[in-house]
């Protein structure tokens, strides 16, 4: 058990830190949260900077255009960029963390050559079309149909909660290609161009007031069969590859940010007298301890991934996500206690963060679903019905 970083890792950290200190002051101002084209341009601009400096796709395999960095280097990258206040991965989330790694793992040489470089260069944005109005937690019951017609699939159906759909060029789309097969066996994974005729996007307003996600309607959309990644009807397995990437390191930067937020909260409480309330003070102390432990759990999971072949994150990610999503909500509820009535103002950055924290126990698999995974796949309890 060792928490010190090797010389090579420290070197990597120092170089990254120096580079961040140089480029961050040159960045343009962040666009407002409602300015979607502006946000897309900003996020892609940051991706291009990373690309030019050799930091794009750090954790991707070298033969997919990545840097083949170790999980620890990737961890350092996420930690340092967050610490320095660098832009969040933003609109590039699905491309970099989901679709890209999935295509790298499962795609043909042609598919890799077509789709991976634009993600790394910051030319194209991906979104994730998994959930449907009637298929959320029970994702495998999805109904969007793809019927073979010559060299094309003809697709009809609808996807929902699709983050960044408005500004995406591509969608990793799950479709049903064999309605007769058992539900997990008739699904395929396709790359859908978002500008194809028959695709329409209806923004959905979130409880935070913004249009983070959308409903996507697919009306006889033609997609070449060549856009299918993995074998026909093998999409569920491909999807599991995708999901393991999603839960692996998605929250590293956020844990760092939460600790900074706690520090700010403590200072605010000192200033406004709330710190004298022992109940509140103890709650903040506890959260500080919890986020410290969550950071250590991240290092634990990364070390474990580094020891296991392939570096694919294990299901330990579910343990982390469960603990983290609840701690994050507790953090912002505590922030509201520190701020009092100020927390009712949407002008407070905290308030928007508090609202967005409500999605953490839902998105990327609800807490109930994560508990099922932990109980059945880690603890080996019998499958329920």
């Amino acid at each position: 058990m060792d928490l010190t970083y090797t010389e090579e890792e420290q070197d990597f950290r120092a170089r990254l830190r120096a580079w961040l200190a140089k480029v961050l002051p040159e960045l343009p101002a962040r666009p407002s949260p409602d300015d979607w084209p502006g946000r897309r341009a900003y996020d892609l601009g940051w991706q291009r900077r990373l690309y030019e400096a050799g930091y794009a796709g750090l954790h991707w395999p070298v033969d997919a255009g990545g840097r083949g960095a170790t999980p620890t280097q990737h961890l350092i990258f996420l930690e340092e960029t967050e610490r320095a206040g660098a832009p969040y991965v933003g609109a590039n989330f699905v491309g970099l963390l989901h679709a890209g790694p999935t295509i790298a793992a499962e795609g043909t040489a042609q598919q890799r050559a077509r789709w991976l470089p634009p993600v790394l260069r910051g030319d194209e944005v991906w979104c994730q079309g998994f959930s449907e109005p009637d298929a959320g937690s029970d994702l495998a019951s999805l109904r969007t149909r793809a019927v073979r017609d010559g060299d094309d699939y003809v697709i009809s159906g609808s996807k929902i909660w699709t983050s960044h759909a408005e500004v995406a060029d591509w969608c990793e789309l799950l479709v049903r290609t064999d309605p007769g097969a058992p539900k997990h066996r008739g699904i395929s994974w396709l790359a859908l161009p978002m500008d194809a005729p028959g695709v329409s996007v209806r923004p959905l307003r979130t409880l935070a007031g913004s249009a983070e996600f959308a409903q996507v309607f697919l009306d006889e959309v033609r997609v070449p069969v060549a856009n299918r990644v993995g074998a026909e009807n093998d999409g569920w397995r491909v999807t599991m590859v995708t999901l393991s990437f999603e839960r692996g390191t998605a929250f590293v930067g956020e844990v760092v940010a939460c600790r900074r937020t706690l520090g700010e909260l403590a200072r605010t409480a000192k200033a406004n007298g709330r710190w004298d309330d022992p109940v509140l003070r103890r709650r903040l102390g506890r959260l500080y301890g919890e986020f410290g432990a969550l950071w250590r759990l991240t290092q634990w999971n990364v070390s474990e991934a580094e020891r296991s072949a392939g570096g694919v994150p294990g299901i330990g990610g579910s343990v982390f996500k469960l603990a983290y999503s609840h701690a994050r909500q507790e953090l912002y509820d505590t922030a509201a206690e520190v701020l009092g009535a100020r927390s009712l103002s949407l002008e407070e950055e905290w308030t928007l963060d508090r609202l967005s924290s409500l999605s953490y126990t839902i998105a990327a698999g609800t807490s109930q679903i994560q508990r099922n995974i932990v109980a059945e796949r880690i603890l080996g309890l019998p499958k329920g019905r």
Partner: protein, 304 residues
């Protein structure tokens, strides 16, 4: 960075687990409950021979010369087996009280923050006091942790941080053990024509237990590696929660059986309650962390 146990550390852990499985299995545990013999001197010496108490004593002083990371792995195993007796205090006394390192002396401590001392009658020495003070027996909630009320005040502050961390390791072992007990029972006990473990309400209790135990375990390991006071406080706080709530949830999974003297669950719960009062309580840990937080640069001081 390689935050995983080394092969030697895994071997050490496995060795202690084997020793305790052979020497202090379920029958031995129940026998000590029945006989009221809470410190088995022979076992104490065997633990001493295995290096349990002298683990962190330098080799030059006849110790094993290992560090806190190894100690927490070993204490986790003792917590899992629910070995009774002042394990932490005797370990801390190695090199200070003659015989502690070898396990020929039993050493308790003023670690309960009040006038109560555990295992006073069996103790050859008490950390934080000179000699063994006189005391009045008090009926203890934990059948395997006898308590005495003493008139004199003792002070074991010097040992507090390490004591809290090793106690946290015991709590983690107990928490992980109660997950196992719950999962096993949930797989065997049938109601409505199926194992109760297939019911989601039961499954989710078990999953919550595991999450709490795993987060606490990582916190304990990290604190052992860094030796940081704040991390040790966080470790104790999280481990107390994992052990106490874990034992309660395990009891719930066992239904009426869980409320019986027969099931081992209550022994884990009662011991977890005792340990939660030892060295550093949740409230004290939270206050310490709050002070650290407000003094920290930006609340990110210990990252890296």
């Amino acid at each position: 960075m390689d935050f995983q146990p080394t092969e030697e550390q895994e071997d050490l852990r496995a060795g202690v687990r084997d020793l305790l499985a052979g020497r202090y299995g379920r029958e031995a545990l129940r026998a000590s409950v029945d006989t009221g013999v809470t410190v088995d001197r022979a076992l104490w010496r065997e633990l001493g021979d295995a290096g349990f108490f002298a683990l962190r004593l330098p080799e030059s002083e006849g110790g094993v010369g290992l560090g806190l990371p190894e100690a927490v792995l070993v204490f986790e195993e003792a917590g899992r087996a629910l070995v009774p007796g002042p394990l932490v205090a005797t370990h801390l006394a190695a090199g200070v009280v003659p015989g502690a390192a070898a396990g020929t002396a039993v050493v308790s401590a003023f670690d309960l923050g009040g006038p109560l001392v555990a295992h006073l009658a069996e103790a050859d020495a008490v950390l934080g006091a000179s000699g063994v003070p006189a005391g009045e027996p008090v009926r203890s909630v934990d059948p395997l942790t006898p308590l005495h009320r003493v008139a004199v005040a003792g002070d074991a502050t010097a040992y507090r941080e390490t004591g809290a961390l090793l106690t946290a390791a015991l709590q983690v072992g107990s928490a992980l053990r109660t997950v196992e007990l719950a999962v096993r029972y949930a797989g065997e006990r049938e109601q409505f024509g199926q194992p109760i473990g297939a019911f989601q309400a039961v499954k989710h209790l078990c999953a919550r237990m595991l999450v709490r135990a795993e987060v606490a375990r990582t916190a304990v390991y990290a604190a052992a590696v860094t030796g940081d006071a704040g991390e040790a406080a966080a470790a104790k706080l999280l481990a107390d929660g994992a052990a106490v709530r874990g034992a309660r949830d395990c009891l719930q999974v066992h239904g009426g059986m869980g409320f019986t003297w027969e099931a081992d669950v209550h022994l884990h719960l009662k011991r977890a309650w005792v340990r939660a009062e030892q060295w550093r309580t949740v409230a004290q840990a939270e206050e310490l962390l709050a002070r650290e937080l407000v003094d920290s640069e930006e609340g990110a001081g210990r990252l890296g």
